[in-house]
Structure formats: C-alpha cells, structure tokens
C-alpha cells in the first residue's frame, strides 16, 4: 500500500495497459470456476451436492498446481518443437507472468468441465487422478498444437488452425474427455428404465443454483472471449468489442432458439435446457467470435441450439448418461464453433487477427474465402478429438480396471456425500 513511486515512460505504459486488460480478463476466467461449481451443484441431486463441490475444488486447486508445475511448460515453454514445449517447468526463468496467469485460468476451465460429466457416480478419489493427467498431459499438448507458435496445427495451410479463445483447446478437450469418461463409467442407476431402456428424468436439486452458475459463466465469458486479444493497443480493442458483441448475439440466439424449439416440440418452457442452450452458444462463439459479423454470430447461435439439442437427444438414444449435458454443450458446440471459423470468418477480420503473416485470402467459405480454412479447421477438430479420445480411453479404462472409478451401487443410491462427511443440507429433509 502506497509503496510504489511513479516512474513511467510511455512505451511501458502501453504495455502496462495491455497487461491490465489481460489480468482483468484472467480474474473473470477464474471466476467462471464459481459458475461451473454452482451449475454442477444445482444439476445433481441433493445427496451428491457436497461431493460435486469437492470435486470442483480439487479440480481447481490441484489442476492449477499441476499446470503451473508441468502443463504450462509443455504448452508454452521456450525451445518448443512442433510437438511440445520443453523447458521452464515450475515457471523457472519465465517472466511474462500475465500471459501465464491467463493461460492458467483457461486450463482450469477445461478441467472443470470433466467433473460435470462424471457427476453422481464416481469416487471422489478418481478426480485426483484424472485432474493430474488432464492438466499435465491431455490439455497441455492440445494447447501447444493449436496455440503455440511452433505447434504443428498452427503451421498447416495458409493460416494454420484458428481458435481464437479456446473453442477447441478448452471446450472441445474438456467435453471430449468428459464424454469418454461418462461412456466408460456407464449411466447413473435409474437413469434408463431397466426394461424399456427409456430415459427417466433425474432432476437436479436446485435450478436456482444452476441458473446462478450459468449467469456467472456468462459474465466470466466476457473475460474468456475478449481477453484473448491479449491487450488493447494496436487496434486490438476493436477486436475485443467485436468479440463481446458477437459472443452476446451467439449466446442469446442459441438460448432463444433452444427455448422456442422446446416450446414448439413439447409445449413446456424448460429452464434447464434453455440455460444449457445459452452455454452452448457461449461455447460455439469462442473459436470464432473475433472474426465474424453480427449476422454470422446470429446464424452460429441458431445452429448451435440445434447442435446442442440434437447431440443431447442422440446421447440419450445411445443410452449414454451425461448428467450436465457437458458433451453436447462443450464438445458438440465446440466442434461447431471451430468449423464456424471456416464458414463465417471475414477477410478483414482474419487479417486483423493474423497480423503476423502476409495478408491472407483464405477465410470463411460463406464469406467467399474458399474451402481451405474449413478443411484446416476440420483437420484440427479431428486431430484434437482423436488425441482426447485415445488418451481419455486409456486413462478411464485403467481407472476402471483398478477399480478406482465407479462407486458401488449402495453408496450411489445413498449419495456420495456420505464420503464427504454427511449431507449438504443437514437442516432440511430430503424427499
């Protein structure tokens, strides 16, 4: 407090303002942890509320420590080759702490997504294991390939893969790992009728909590999507305001479309699904938000709603039980958002983003930039999906093999909170 003296030159001042922008965005992204925690807590049943919270805390705390120690060096360490970064473990010798903090918050988000998919039926212990693997291996490699300047997906084609703020790296990775996990764990007891196989609803214990969570995530997403400009000087603030506008339009369009589609289809207004539609829209916008026109954002949002609803329906048909619909939201909408870059990106904006290279003439298919970028995005999506599916399958298969994954059925019926020192709401009666 009152320790520092002013000693500014105008050069460092611009850099300071840029860092300020990124730091503020970082705080917002860390705050989405609160949003995810509340969302997950609201969607599970009261008997599992405490355990999902503890998982969410473990994710954040341990995931952050591992990413600091190992993950960041693999993603962005100096002397990286096409495959991985190789130095600066434990941040030793690394100076750009602002950038680190921002990336750190991103990795925490990706890891948190997984715990939602595994809700209500896995050991709390298991979360320690997958958090470590996810933040030390699965996420960092994907981040290196897609984001680091030396990453191999970054060097393909004219522009390389474009993922402005984590549609592929954060959402797709988190969603895919979760989806594999939920498939290997199997559905919750009582989710599908044992005879007919029809899904039966297992409603969450507090829709208010999950709505609160969604609103916090929405708020945090402004940091998530607009902070990726990594500064505001040199025209980047326009990129940030474009991102804020397009992200809002995509999210609200997706929310409204979901709502109306369900109303038309079933005659009810469904809060939980509308909230998910909103989140799906946010996810779909993250890869592309800085490079599209508002009309493109609107189309992306409307389509995202059907992508979400369709994949959610498909999962139920295949009897895969994803309690929070994290697969449909983060994986499917993440894929759609990544492809949308190849469909809707405009020439002007792509050139603004990719300021490093010569003016490019490869951009969105629908905006007249040819099919190449779409191909590159498709390739990237396929590669990242494959990477996640392979590593996650090995991980969860081994965990199942050593019996540290699924909780036994009596425990599951009683609620996992018994392992976490009693029920979450001791003053109220569960029914």
């Amino acid at each position: 407090m009152e320790y520092l003296e002013l000693n500014a030159t105008s050069d460092s001042f611009v850099a300071a303002v840029d860092d300020m922008w990124v730091l503020n965005a970082t705080y917002l992204v860390f705050y989405t942890q609160a949003g995810f925690c509340m969302l997950e807590a609201g969607v599970v049943r009261a008997k599992n509320a405490k355990s999902i919270i503890i998982k969410s805390i473990i994710d954040t705390a341990i995931g952050s420590l591992i990413f600091w120690a190992i993950g960041f060096a693999i993603s962005f360490g100096a002397n990286g080759n096409f495959f991985m970064g190789l130095s600066q473990f434990f941040l030793i010798g690394y100076t750009n702490l602002t950038f680190f903090a921002y990336q750190w918050a991103f990795s925490a988000t990706s890891i948190t997504i997984v715990s939602g998919s595994l809700a209500e039926r896995v050991h709390i212990n298991s979360c320690l294991i997958y958090t470590v693997v996810m933040s030390a291996i699965i996420y960092p490699f994907a981040a290196h390939w897609v984001w680091a300047q030396s990453g191999w997906l970054r060097k393909i084609g004219t522009n390389g893969i474009i993922d402005f703020s984590g549609g592929i790296v954060v959402h797709m990775v988190g969603g895919a790992v979760g989806l594999v996990g939920t498939y290997i764990v199997g559905p919750r007891i009582g989710r599908f009728d044992s005879e007919s196989g029809k899904p039966k609803p297992l409603p969450g214990h507090s829709i208010t909590l999950s709505t609160l969570g969604a609103f916090i995530i929405w708020y945090g997403s402004y940091g998530f999507n607009t902070g990726s400009t990594l500064g505001i000087s040199g025209g980047r603030i326009e990129v940030a305001s474009r991102s804020a506008v397009t992200m809002t339009i995509t999210a609200t369009a997706s929310c409204a479309t979901t709502l109306l589609a369900i109303k038309v289809y079933s005659g009810k207004y469904d809060v939980a699904k509308s909230v998910n539609g909103l989140l799906g829209g946010l996810v779909a916008s993250s890869a592309s938000c800085s490079m599209i026109e508002p009309w493109g954002a609107f189309v992306i949002g409307c389509v995202a709603a059907f992508v979400y609803l369709g994949s959610s329906h498909l999962l139920l048909k295949k009897r895969i039980d994803d309690p929070l619909d994290n697969g449909p939201i983060h994986y499917s909408c993440g894929v759609w958002g990544a492809l949308a870059v190849g469909l809707f990106a405009t020439e002007k904006d792509v050139n603004k983003i990719l300021i490093l290279r010569n003016p490019t003439h490869t951009y969105g298919l629908f905006t007249g930039g040819g099919i190449e970028q779409l191909g590159v995005q498709l390739l990237g999506v396929a590669v990242v999906t494959l990477w996640c599916v392979v590593t996650a399958t090995i991980l969860f298969y081994l965990m199942r093999k050593f019996n540290v994954l699924r909780i036994d059925p009596t425990r599951e019926l009683m609620g996992i909170d018994m392992d976490a020192g009693g029920p979450a709401y001791p003053n109220f009666q569960n029914i």
Binding site: G204, F215, A244, L356
Partner: protein, 429 residues
C-alpha cells in the same frame, strides 16, 4: 524462442500510440468492462426476484429473466439500437433516429454492448413487478416491444446528443430515467392492470396479507451481487480520462454512501415501527439508495449523498405503503425501489449537482445551476424529463396483459409450465 504470443506480434503492430488514440482505447476498455458488470446485474436481479417470489414460481421468474436477456439482445440488435443511436447518414431528429436496422458500424460495437446491458436491466425490473401471475406469451410480447421501441426512444431523448431531453439539459448519470423510471413505471402499470395475486389482499377487509418470499437468502445473494454491479452501471456512460476518472471515483463513493445510508435509515424506521429487523426491507432499502444515486452520483459532493440516501429510504418505505393501501400488489417492490427512487434521484440531481462537474462531461449544451447553487431551471427540466418518460411508458403499456388461470396460479407455474418444482427434495410446507 518464446511461445507465448498467441495471436499478435507486438513488433508488427503499427504504433499509433498517440494521445487521442490511447484515450479512445481506454474509453473502450472502461465501457466494455463496466458493461460486463452490468450484464452480471442480470444474475443479481434474477436472484433477488427468485428469492422474493413463492417457491412454486421460482423457475418461472428465473426463466423469464433469462429469456428477457436473450430476446432483448436480439431485438435491441435488430431494431432498438438504430432507433436510439443511429449514427449513420440516415434519418435522425430530436425524437427518433432511423433506420439502419440489423447493422452496426464497427465503431459502435462497444457502445452497443453497453446500451444493450442497460436495456436488459430495464426489462428485468419489469419482470419483478408482474411476477407470479402473468402469462408467458404476454412476457414474450412485452420483452420484444420494450427493447425494440420503448427503451430506445427514451434512450435517444436522454442520451443522444440530438435527443430533445438532452438538448433541454436533462442530467442522467447512470440510467435513473432511462432504466429505473422506465422499468419501474412500466412495471407499475402492468401490476395495476394485472391486479393483485390471489390471496394477497383479504377479500373482505382489503388488508394486505403476507405471501412470504420463499428464500430470502437467495434474495440477499442477489442484493449483494447488485451492490457490486452498480459500480459498473454508474460510471459507465462517460468513459474515462483524468477528469472523468475523478467523476467515476466520486460516483463510486456517493453510490456507496447513498446505499448505506438508505439501508440504515430503512432499518431504523422499520425497527421503530415494527420492532423487527426485516431482511427484505434491508435489501430493498439498500437498492433504493443505489437507484436514487444513479441520477447524479458523480456530480455531487459526497456529503449530499447522505440527504439522498435518507430521502430514498423514506420514499421507498412510504411508496410501498401507499401501494398496499391502494391494493396494488408489487411482489418484489420494484416500483417502490426503481420508479419512486428514480424520480427522487432525478429531482436530487437538480438540487445538488455541481455545475462544473456536469459541464466537464456533458458537451455541446448549456447546463444550468442546481438549486443549491441558486438555480431552479434545472429542476423544471428534470421534472419534464421524468414526466415525459413516465407518460411515454404509460401510453405504451395500455395493451391488455394476459393473466394466467387462477388454478395455475394456485398450483404454481413451475409445475404447470416448467415440468416440475424447483427442487424435488425441498418439500413445500
């Protein structure tokens, strides 16, 4: 080689770090960041209102606030922004601008975000007033019309340099007229047309009965979130530079003081009259102070915010009492908080504003001395502004709102329209 520059290489960025340019960047930064806070207000209002309705309608109100925000963005993007702030070569007079619908100029993007955030707050305030008894279709219509035409016109009048109220000299620091009076008066008219909730007033004596809010803890989360987010609502409009930075700090302090004093006054008054600490009044008293400060927080000496705060508590308590006497049922007390204190705050703006401070942010117009500085013209102008806003809202609100069936109202809308109550494990008692 360092791998930490995801998109930009700063050595290639053209250096136009001129003074003007930096100032513009900072303005953008300030406005965007404040807008995010204001959008987060949606969460605050949702929980405030969700906690204050009965358990059987919780899902309904959450749903409405969610859809309000979503539909509002789409309609404000398509129609509203153009009516309010069309800056192109198109038609624009002192009453309305027109007609570049569905298109935004790139330099308007950040401004769109902030103005949309304001509009969604106005809509959410309405939801609180008409909660627990309105048909969903009526909501959807209402929430399409307000952001496409009702809010934009008032915003045009008060905030746009060509608007007639702006040119008259109306002061609105953080949306007292455009957000609070507008939302509050539409809500009040709505709630009058709808009539009270079943069982709110005794059929014989006409006395108000208690329809207890189901989860006041939730409301207080909402209230605390709103406290935080009001710091985004208030200093946003004017952007930032050294003068405006001072005004923003002044605004933050006056806002805090006004809210605190208003809350303390409401608590003391309630303690004297009913011997209870009532949490609902604590929360709404706090918000009343913030609302009242929204007209002029940056333009006054912090000392005057005490008067504003004490006044707003009294305005809030007496207005809500008056509504009950006339058997108007306002479940979340939105009209008392937002309409009454929006008016009170706007009047205070003409009483206490410091002309120099006002001049330092409002350009190209004549400002008038406030009452404490010896001028009365501003008072009349503020009154005209208040009147115009209210009249506009009332005129537009004269269409029939559709009320839900009484049996649905008794069972609760969550079960009938949303596929079940909020939490199956909570047993309503």
């Amino acid at each position: 080689q360092q791998d930490d520059n995801v998109w930009y290489d700063s050595s290639n960025i053209p250096s136009y770090a001129t003074a003007k340019r930096i100032n513009q960047i900072l303005d953008y930064n300030w406005v965007l960041r404040s807008s995010y806070l204001v959008i987060f207000m949606q969460a605050g209002f949702s929980f405030l209102e969700a906690g204050m309705v009965r358990g059987k309608n919780t899902k309904n109100i959450l749903f409405k606030n969610l859809i309000t925000t979503a539909l509002g963005a789409i309609f404000f993007f398509g129609l509203g922004y153009s009516f309010a702030f069309d800056q192109g070569k198109n038609y624009s007079n002192s009453f309305v601008a027109c007609c570049s619908f569905f298109t935004l100029r790139e330099e308007d993007y950040y401004s769109w975000v902030s103005k949309w955030a304001f509009s969604s707050i106005a809509c959410t305030i309405i939801n609180g007033s008409v909660s627990e008894r309105t048909k969903m279709i009526a909501y959807l219509i209402l929430n399409s019309i307000v952001p496409s035409i009702v809010y934009p016109l008032v915003a045009h009048w008060v905030w746009n340099q060509t608007g007639w109220l702006y040119q008259l000299g109306v002061i609105d620091y953080g949306g007292a007229m455009v957000v609070h009076i507008l939302g509050g008066s539409i809500g009040l008219v709505g709630t009058i047309i709808l009539g009270p909730r079943l069982g709110k007033f005794d059929l014989e004596t006409g006395r108000p009965l208690v329809l207890a809010e189901h989860n006041i803890v939730l409301s207080s989360i909402g209230g605390m979130i709103l406290w935080f987010t009001f710091y985004g609502l208030h200093p946003m409009l004017f952007g930032i530079d050294i003068n405006k930075g001072v005004i923003a700090s002044r605004g933050a302090i006056s806002t805090t003081l006004s809210g605190s004093i208003s809350m303390v006054t409401s608590v003391i008054v309630t303690l004297i009259t009913s011997k209870k600490y009532d949490l609902k009044i604590v929360i709404n008293g706090l918000l009343s102070g913030f609302v009242a400060a929204s007209s002029c927080a940056g333009f006054i000496e912090p000392f005057y915010s005490i008067i504003i705060g004490v006044g707003s508590a009294i305005v809030y308590l007496s207005f809500s009492k008056m509504l009950l006497r006339y058997q108007v049922d306002d479940p979340c007390q939105s009209a008392s908080v937002h309409l009454a204190n929006g008016i009170w705050g706007s009047i205070c703006a003409s009483l206490f504003s410091n002309r120099d401070l006002v001049d330092s942010v409002y350009q190209n117009r004549t400002n008038y001395l406030s009452v404490i500085q010896g001028g009365f013209k501003l008072l009349f102008i503020q009154l005209i502004g208040i009147g115009a806003t209210i009249i506009w809202c009332v005129i537009l609100k004269r269409y029939q709102l559709l009320r839900i069936d009484s049996d649905v109202e008794l069972t609760g809308m969550d079960i009938r329209h949303h596929g079940g109550a909020i939490g199956p494990y909570h047993r309503p008692s």
